[in-house]
């Protein structure tokens, strides 16, 4: 089974570990992702709020490229890419004015989009398409005595409701439960981590991060599992600064859910790129 794959900018930089583990897990499940040739920026953060239409056109180009290459589904790992591409897809199908605009922009690039491509997040692909049975069958080294909180971040169900509930999503809970780990209740699973304003409003963001870390620690989590590069960076890299700011002493590894799955599936740790986190993955990796 082959899907078009849109890596997005972070997959080839800060979140190499996400991409590597995702590809490794999917490969083990018999799924091949094929990178869209000549893909471009999804049109995320700064552009999307200043010039929403232009940013949608950027997304639309990626969809058009996938469609031209004969794909019907584009898989993304990054939640921000997902949100942007999904927005373009949704607007293209339902809003004639936006469709006209995107079609016009694509035309200047000599391209067109027929609306035949559907965007899927890797979490959606794994849990709702490949299905829990298939994941469970691949688990060879179930995690024991590991407590995990799933953290979805804000973008998976927003702004448009997509494959999971925006407030109380459950798909990652389901995926993680299959690994044998104890998946803890996590009330802040879909709260914003502040990622997009980390550089401009750091104080506010540290408060948000702290609250998430607090609940994870309070519940006794060994690991926070995430599905978004920016969430991972924010929760992982800023733990020291949070500790300095609030006088706390959090030290919770933040792993991509694909890495956790990969461990349980007994995949080669080097393909899972487990050594890249600021807070070392420690115990979970060494089981």
């Amino acid at each position: 089974m082959n899907y078009a794959y849109m890596p997005g900018c972070s997959s080839h930089s800060s979140s190499r570990d996400y991409e590597m583990s995702a590809l490794a897990v999917l490969k083990a499940l018999g799924v091949q992702l094929e990178e869209i040739k000549d893909w471009n920026c999804c049109g995320s953060t700064p552009v999307s709020s200043v010039a929403p239409v232009t940013s949608m056109a950027l997304s639309a180009r990626n969809l058009a490229l996938a469609e031209e290459a004969g794909y019907r589904e584009v898989v993304v790992t990054c939640s921000s890419c997902y949100s942007m591409l999904k927005r373009a897809e949704t607007y293209y199908r339902n809003d004639p004015a936006a469709r006209e605009m995107m079609a016009g922009a694509l035309k200047t690039m000599g391209r067109q989009f027929e609306g035949m491509v559907t965007v899927k997040h890797i979490l959606e692909l794994m849990v709702y398409h490949l299905g829990p049975e298939r994941l469970a069958a691949a688990v060879t080294k179930p995690l024991k005595d590991v407590k995990i909180v799933p953290y979805y971040g804000c973008l998976l169900g927003r702004p448009q409701k997509a494959f999971d509930d925006p407030e109380t999503p459950t798909s990652m809970d389901e995926a993680l439960r299959i690994t044998g780990a104890e998946v803890l209740r996590f009330d802040r699973k879909s709260k914003c981590c502040g990622g997009s304003v980390m550089l401009t409003k750091q104080k506010a963001v540290l408060r948000l991060v702290e609250e998430i870390l607090w609940e994870a620690a309070d519940r006794g989590a060994d690991v926070i599992a995430v599905a978004c590069p920016l969430c991972q960076l924010n929760l992982d890299a800023y733990q020291t600064r949070v500790n300095a700011e609030f006088g706390t002493s959090y030290r919770i590894p933040v792993l991509y859910f694909t890495q956790v799955l990969g461990i349980a599936m007994g995949l080669d740790k080097k393909h899972l790129a487990l050594g890249k986190t600021f807070v070392p993955a420690g115990r979970v990796v060494n089981i």
Binding site: E167, T168, D187, R188, E211, E215, D218
Partner: protein
């Protein structure tokens, strides 16, 4: 066919039509249409002089058809039909062209409006040419009224009708009447005790010889029409013989099975055999078979053993009874929004987040804590937050305002202050104190030292065992997190879960918010699309007690005005079969939602029961032989209309 002579009258409706439509021009145009004898325009056709004009022309010009171009036929068709009748002409030789609602009020340009008005008039003229005289008939009116739902609105309606000497049946699906009001502790703005003012009404309803109570019963099916409804009611098995039971209470004292008490909003426990609350009417128990050990496991039977009168009857079965009624009042009430739908409110996540109704039960002396406001751990909260508009005025949940929650929140804040003596915070978007004595009540509560925070309580979080309410305080222009011990969510008022089913059973339409739709938003608040079916109370939209009581009384007046007339008019607009043409294919039989089409096995043709037919015309539209027609909406009439509406 005798010479057809049509009179056309174009109404100015003051300036309502004349501003946009050249009425004189339309009249002149109409004068040139075939068979039109006279065409005039006039200021107000519906006023007496306008009607006199028609009457005079009918006499002087021997008119035998009349077209009035004015407002919607839904407004004045009955008026002008009466005009024709009073001039000795059959009322159905009349047709209306709607040039106000469908033309002058919706069209920008005068030229387009005038042209559209001409087209509608031409179509009406073409149609009226084919009109035939029809005769209304009358059927006897059954004088009994059915009230569905025994909350305060239904009780009020029943009492009023009973007082006039007419029979009423109240069907209530719970074991006791009383509805939502019975759960309340105090009522705003006077703070009198809810049970104290409701219980006498409940008892009066039970004792009134003109009122029959069917509690623990539901309406299954409604057939017939205004004046002659046949209603099938399911009387659910109570497992207790109502005649033998004295209401002594030994059974539920001894019953070993405990279940969360719905009446206490799940806060306290009740038994499997129970009366929902101490003042219940009737004050006789019912067995909840789902939770009864005897019914689930076949063993126990304690209640039966201890009952001194042998009233417990495990073999009792649901009973279906069919009764006749002339009018129906639907007062099925409302529910509150499921607060778990918004996980951000913390309900179900955190122990000390409760709903307004749960708080009512807490403060109520007969509630699970005997009136003490306590936290889950039994301690008295020092800080209480009351959140307004939880799910109301929120596009993610309910767009509408739930109308009474500002006042009920004020009342809850007052009670919290009174019962706990602690700090009370009220989170509101803005304060809607619209009713008599309400603003005064607001002022009074403010003076009691409640903290009013003008900001929607958007999120309730718990950290280290402490609850925080998050809000944007719009007066301070600041984000705030307020630490509290108890959060009371005043959740949105919503239609009952079974509203769709009830609406379909009674032929009521619903508005987009899901509540029952009245016939006219301002002028017919109690009528529905189905003649003889009225609505009252919270089933029509969020309402406080005074409003519900007024509507109950109003619905009683609506029902009585029908009943007291004694007769009900049967419209002659019904289907009819041309037996000479009907081939007996039977395609129409199953189509009729009322079973008004039967088959005559001897003649091998379809026959219509005119008393049952409502004239929708579905059968006519499906009769390929053309034998089935519907009077006043014949193919000829409609096709003529279609042809002419395009001719201009």
């Amino acid at each position: 066919m005798p010479d057809v002579r049509i009179g056309v009258y174009v109404c100015h409706c003051g300036s309502n039509i004349a501003d946009k439509v050249d009425c004189a021009g339309v009249a002149e145009f109409a004068g040139g249409l075939p068979k039109v004898t006279i065409a005039r325009d006039y200021q107000y056709m519906c006023a007496d002089p306008g009607q006199d004009l028609i009457r005079k022309d009918i006499k002087d010009h021997k008119l035998n058809r009349v077209v009035v171009a004015s407002c919607s036929p839904r407004m004045h068709e009955p008026t002008f039909r009466k005009t024709l009748e009073s001039a000795g002409l059959n009322a159905y030789f009349f047709e209306m062209a709607n040039i106000r609602e469908h033309v002058s009020w919706v069209t920008e340009g005068r030229e387009q409006a005038t042209e559209k008005a001409k087209a509608l008039v031409a179509a009406a003229v073409a149609r009226v040419f084919y009109h035939e005289p029809l005769y209304e008939r009358f059927a006897d009116m059954n004088k009994r009224t059915l009230v569905v739902g025994g909350g305060i609105a239904g009780i009020e309606a029943a009492l009023k009708i009973a007082a006039s000497g007419n029979q009423v049946v109240i069907v209530e699906k719970e074991p006791s009447i009383g509805g939502n009001m019975a759960k309340l502790d105090k009522t705003f703005p006077t703070l009198d005790c809810s049970a104290c003012i409701l219980t006498p009404k409940m008892v009066a309803a039970a004792q009134d010889e003109n009122i029959t109570l069917y509690t623990y019963a539901e309406v299954e099916k409604v057939e017939g029409y205004v004046g002659n409804f046949q209603v099938t009611i399911r009387k659910k098995a109570r497992s207790v013989d109502m005649d033998k039971c004295t209401g002594c209470g030994i059974c539920y004292n001894k019953c070993p099975a405990k279940v969360p008490n719905e009446f206490d909003e799940g806060l306290g426990m009740r038994k499997a055999i129970y009366v929902p609350f101490p003042q219940a009417v009737p004050n006789k128990p019912v067995i909840d078979r789902q939770n009864c050990t005897y019914f689930q496991k076949g063993k126990c039977g304690v209640c039966s053993k201890v009952c001194p009168t042998g009233a417990v009857d495990y073999a009792q079965e649901d009973q279906l009874v069919t009764e006749d009624f002339g009018a129906i009042i639907v007062s099925t009430g409302f529910e509150t929004l499921d607060p778990t739908l918004g996980p951000q409110w913390g309900y179900g996540r955190y122990d000390n987040v409760i709903t307004a109704l749960q708080f009512e039960r807490l403060v109520n002396a007969s509630g699970p804590t005997q009136g003490k406001v306590v936290l889950k751990d039994g301690t008295v909260p020092k800080r209480v937050a009351v959140l307004h508009c939880v799910g109301s005025r929120d596009l993610n949940f309910r767009e509408y305002c739930s109308r009474f929650c500002c006042m009920s929140s004020l009342k809850l804040a007052h009670l919290a202050k009174e019962k706990t003596g602690g700090e009370v915070y009220s989170f509101y978007i803005d304060m809607r104190a619209f009713g008599k004595g309400y603003e005064e009540f607001y002022n009074r509560v403010m003076e009691e030292g409640i903290h009013f925070i003008r900001g929607k309580g958007t999120e309730v979080i718990q950290r280290a065992g402490e609850l925080f309410v998050r809000t944007e305080d719009t007066l301070l222009g600041k984000y705030r997190e307020v630490p509290v011990d108890l959060v009371v969510l005043n959740v949105a008022t919503v239609p009952r879960a079974d509203a769709e089913k009830v609406a379909q059973t009674f032929g009521i339409q619903r508005s987009p918010d899901g509540f029952f739709l009245e016939a006219h938003v301002k002028l017919e608040p109690l009528k529905t699309a189905t003649d003889g079916v009225f609505i009252a109370g919270g089933c029509q939209g969020p309402k406080d007690i005074p409003d519900s009581v007024s509507q109950g009384a109003g619905a009683a007046a609506e029902a009585l005005s029908l009943i007291e007339a004694g007769k009900v008019k049967i419209s002659p607009v019904v289907a009819s079969v041309d037996e000479a043409r009907c081939g007996g294919c039977k395609a129409c039989l199953a189509l009729c939602p009322y079973g008004a089409v039967d088959f005559d096995d001897e003649k091998k043709v379809a026959v219509v029961n005119e008393a049952v037919c409502k004239g929708c015309g579905t059968c006519a539209a499906s009769c390929a032989s053309g034998a089935m027609g519907v009077r006043h909406f014949t193919d000829e009439q409609i096709l003529a209309q279609i042809g002419e509406v395009l001719a201009v």
